[in-house]
Amino acid sequence: MNENSRAGGYNFAYLDEHTKRMIRRAILKAIAIPGYQVPFGSREMPLPYGWGTGGIQVTAAVIGPADVLKVIDQGSDDTTNAVNIRRFFVRTTGVRVTGRASDATIIQTRHRIPETPLREGQIIVYQVPIPEMLRWLEPREAETRKMHALSEYGAMHVKLYEDIARYGHIATTYDYPVIVNEHYLMRPSPIPKFDNPKLHMNPALQLFGAGREKRIYAVPPYTAVRSLDFEDHPFEIQRWQHACELCGAADSFLDEVIIDNEGARMFVCSDSDYCTQRRDAHRRAVA
């Protein structure tokens, strides 16, 4: 940790110690009840709601001076949200930051899971806009709580079935519903369904923070996470006709990028760290 790089006048990691204790207790209960949304006293943060205030509060409560932080936004380390949040933690904690998923001890993410497999001991913090998977099906909180308590998720299956009736396949492509440890229906935050299989039995501790909605939830390491599906319409991830045009990866999530006024486009890895490392490795092999 570099004490000198820390802005004065603030506590370590911005939040006061009482707030951190409250969030830490919520995280412990969240780990003990995988997939259950623990209410917490979300604070005003120096960023507007929708910019990851939940994820920032979770990260602020778990980060220590010895941690190495990586922040991504849609897979990229260099987009506005990621740059802002990384700078916030550099100024308030002085921790080391990195772009490499394998070097980080804490990864805060907006809407992607890195392609590089996570390892035991790492913590990944997701920014969650709406934590309640059932909210658009049942607006009453008292009802959704009862549905969760009874693990009664027929309504969610009906929603997926309506997709099949209308489009012939399950058309949900991101924020795809999952069942954690065979009990709680959980919103994986708006990650593409491509990333859903990475939630299952992941060695890292996965924490989810929703600031505006004041909820924290967790998936402990090595926990079963099953994407909802039907026997005759099994869960499938997205596939592309293309490989990444920069690094040649055929196994990563691709972004379609428009590159000129004629509408020409190219497909590139959404995970910029993964793409860069593959290109570096290729360059080293050639040289």
């Binding site: 780990i31 220590g64 001076p65």
Partner: protein
């Protein structure tokens, strides 16, 4: 000697010590049964083991009523002063409980196990024990464990393990247990499957 003079200091550095303590507890909860080391030794009263003292100082405050199994005044005064936590008159009213005698301790169902709709409003039990070992003992499985872990806790009656099995069966309700031995801890969240 009056209380003010008898009180010993809390954590050396509350900000940096409590994050280390919390990470050890979170790590223990995320890997049930696996013994972890808590790196803080506050000069607490002798009845409090170092890890139990560190956890209390890091996680308790005015929002978390604490139940002391034997109502130890030295421990109560110490934690009331440093954490500002109220002492719970009955186990049911406690958010945290400190258990110092495993032979006479009440079963997990005596504590607040939460509500099916709010299972997070449940107690966390700190159980001080004479030793912990991963070499043998009951078999643990469930979330957090890729393969089974064995945990031997000295002085835990066989009936208590059965009560912990019932605690697991009442998921999502239940209490979460942290066994403490000196500076070491092993956690048993309600999701853990115990095979005796």
């Amino acid at each position: 000697m009056d209380t003010a003079n008898a009180l010993t200091p809390g954590l050396d550095n509350p900000v940096y010590d409590s994050i280390k303590v919390f990470r050890a507890v979170a790590d223990a909860m995320a890997h049930p049964g696996v013994i972890r080391h808590v790196q803080a030794r506050p000069p607490a009263p002798a009845q409090l083991m170092p890890a139990a003292a560190a956890i209390c100082l890091s996680l308790l405050d005015f929002e978390t009523p604490l139940w002391l199994q034997h109502g130890q005044p030295a421990v109560g005064d110490y934690l009331k002063f440093h954490c500002g936590c109220p002492l719970a008159p009955q186990p049911r009213a406690a958010a945290f409980a400190l258990i110092t005698d495993t032979v006479s301790m009440p079963g997990p169902s005596v504590f607040n196990t939460g509500d099916p709709e709010y299972p997070d409003r449940s107690a966390t039990l700190l159980v001080q024990v004479a030793s912990l070992s991963n070499a043998s003992g009951v078999r643990l499985g469930g979330p957090g464990l890729r393969e089974p872990v064995y945990l031997d806790v000295a002085g835990i009656p066989a009936a208590y393990w059965r009560e912990l099995q019932a605690n697991h069966a009442s998921f999502p309700c239940g209490v979460d247990v942290v066994f403490v031995w000196g500076e070491r801890i092993a956690a048993l969240p309600r999701t853990t499957v115990v095979t005796c």
